[in-house]
Symmetry: C2
Subunit: 241 residues, 2 copies
Amino acid sequence: MSVAHAVATDSNPALKRLAALTDLDAEAASALDAAARRSRTIRARREVIAEGAICDEALLILAGWAARVRVLEDGRRQILDFLLPGDFVGLGEHRGALVTSAVTAMTDLQVCVAPSADDHPSLHRAYAISRALSEVDLLAQITRLGRLNAHERIADLLLELHERLELAGLAVDGRFNLPLTQELLADALGLTSVHVNRTLQTLRRDGTLSWKGREIILSNPRALSRSVGRGSVRAAITKQA
Amino acid sequence: MSVAHAVATDSNPALKRLAALTDLDAEAASALDAAARRSRTIRARREVIAEGAICDEALLILAGWAARVRVLEDGRRQILDFLLPGDFVGLGEHRGALVTSAVTAMTDLQVCVAPSADDHPSLHRAYAISRALSEVDLLAQITRLGRLNAHERIADLLLELHERLELAGLAVDGRFNLPLTQELLADALGLTSVHVNRTLQTLRRDGTLSWKGREIILSNPRALSRSVGRGSVRAAITKQA
DNA sequence: CGACGCGTTGAATGTTGTCAACATCAGTGG
DNA sequence: CCACTGATGTTGACAACATTCAACGCGTCG
């Protein structure tokens, strides 16, 4: 990862993540940097983009958390996945495509338009890897909901978030900022908030994690990862880069 | 959908599906037709491609069913999604990418190498729409597992399969061939085969469906779709084309 | 025939959801 | 400064949903 160019990889989590996915050349990095300077803020709980909208350009998340959400007619809600700094909104879609699910800001959000990768091979690579990772995470979500129990679901999701935030420099040693309520966690995990609450309590009691305010600490991510049997595809893709 | 060219859209479900996604020009259709002539057979239960393999080219499924499967260390199994005639294996991945999950043949399978879309704009469009649909289906699977109960999960999945097979001309009026055991259905739905069995019985009793041998009949797909509150994103994307 | 895969059934158990109440805290306006 | 409000977390009792285990029927195939 070259730091010769004058772009602030360290102060910009999104840029840091993309640089971690593949070697960005100076051009690509400065294109991203320029894009980031034209950023826009979206308030928490606002919709970033609606289901069924037409998508012409992808957005890059610079700061804050968003989520893709589906709401059933009777009010049941499912969070499909979370979008973190360095992730894209609508990157999968081809130009002019319908957006396949609503994206909502979970916190105040800072986004910019993702620069076109057309004349930047290294950006193109970074986008491709980012897409691949987000598919891996969707598949992991399916396995979580289909075959893990409440304890495992919570541990596995927190591990995933930790791995992802680590890439952007936003998690260290099992510690990171988790700006979610137990109810949102429940909506992501296919559980009720009551059950999430109870399960969290046992995870706290047995020393697996602590969570006060918005700071969460996983006592031993490695060990937890092994004990939950968390897959290694993410790591393989990240290292391949 | 032009049928002027000499390509057998009607006898080839895969071609029929792609033609239904977007208007294929004669060149694209004959490229697909040529590719289909160099097909390969894979026996049921064999692995089509292993997780972690390197993917250089996408495969097109001409006949038979496959599935992406994830198996946990302790033997629990989750079917991530099904791949039907006209679907692609490894289309999402960029060249040289790691395959993100094993693909297994559920029946004897006929596949061919998907022709490159580089110099066929209409193929490119078809592939893009196909990718978009498969993402929609992944998101639907997440909602199914996270927020629907056993009855709803079964109905919703069968409706999805019906919609998808309809595009390829393999389902008509709620009737299609379902080459799965109750156990495989359970692995896709995050349930046990015992519970799937019991739930199917009540669905049969109340007249929602019948299933004998491999033929399944949904009595009233429209009504069922409404009663389950099944989303319409698939339809929107298909119509957009 | 026997072995095997698949579907079916019953009884007991375990996991998760529901409902309702209360605790805590931050913010708001009187 | 306090009372009030709303969002979030916590708890208990109970019901609903789903799994487990074990057994048996039925057909196919060697």
